[in-house]
Symmetry: C2
Subunit: 165 residues, 2 copies
DNA sequence: CCTTGAACTCAAGTTCACTTCAACTTGAAC
DNA sequence: GTTCAAGTTGAAGTGAACTTGAGTTCAAGG
């Protein structure tokens, strides 16, 4: 690859919308790669822009950095996603989004059922107790799946929401 | 109020499902109040359980502690929510949930539209760029509202997801 | 050569909603 | 009177995903 095909940091930040610090962070985390100029400055292949678009999309779906790294790493040859990869992955994300939507709808349904009852009971009101905390882990659809429960800092939990840095 | 009507910490933790540390945190944050025993231990009025149920429900909808404090504070007389309060509030939350659902559906729609295109363009692909970052703040529905965008740590952003402590 | 702005590194800071820890004290039962 | 679970405090830690800051260097133009 010709050195003239490599992009400097300013180009990447402008075209991806990510801050330089975020780009450096992603490189440190192994999500993207960079070449170096003679003086030690980063020079990026054009394909990095595509990976960054992928990262943004993934993070909008709520994937964590680690999950994104896995997802990128599962691509055969660790390459930038092709059209076929993207189709497979987006089906996967679609399911995830479907789950999140269904969960919010269950919560909404519980809320609608509660309007008028005014109970807000810790034991029986599904809205204030979507996990049925006191129910000894009973069966039945839970109102909120883990992906939408509060990702508890110390116990392991799932992701955040999408970015628009 | 008779001292025999006041509940000790263990009762509150068992019946609310919150950890003692969380209860203390909520008190420090001004979401709930506590009396003290002669020796300095917390003694709670029964109504605190109701406030805690409210807190759990609110946090499941994605409100932050600050928003919950505001919401509780807006109650006339700063009292525990009554049935009527709850109806008003739950309509408000219903709208919020509707927004979140609609946002996820837009994102899902964008994803469906993208399956097969394989573009993932930083400029035009709505999925990888739901905020239209390069669009000079153009009009039109945004795929993700602020409540679902990644709440950026340092810049001010909106909430987290629901809890099941 | 000088200036200017972009880039570099590395450590430390940020936010949120709590938890954990250490070192004590209370309160109720026996 | 002894025991021991339950409770207290304040400070510090947690995790994710970056940002900020300090101090230094690079690259390009004039």
């Amino acid at each position: 690859m010709d050195a003239r095909d490599l992009l400097p940091m300013c180009e990447i930040t402008q075209r991806s919308g990510f801050a330089a610090s975020a780009i450096r962070y992603y490189e440190a985390e192994g999500l993207i790669e960079a070449h170096r100029s003679g003086g030690g400055q980063r020079r990026f292949e054009r394909s990095v822009l595509r990976r960054l678009a992928f990262i943004r999309a993934a993070s909008n779906v709520g994937l964590t950095i680690e999950e994104i790294r896995d997802e990128l790493g599962r691509l055969p040859g660790n390459r930038t996603p092709t059209k076929a990869d993207w189709q497979r992955i987006s089906r996967h994300w679609g399911r995830r989004l479907d789950e999140q939507i269904a969960a919010l709808q269950r919560l909404k349904g519980g809320l609608d059922g509660c309007i008028g009852c005014g109970c807000l009971s810790l034991r029986s009101c599904a809205f204030s107790n979507p996990g049925d905390v006191h129910g000894e882990d009973g069966a039945g659809a839970r109102l909120l799946p883990d992906s939408l429960r509060r990702p508890h800092p110390t116990r392991r939990g799932a992701g955040r929401r999408g970015s628009a840095s």
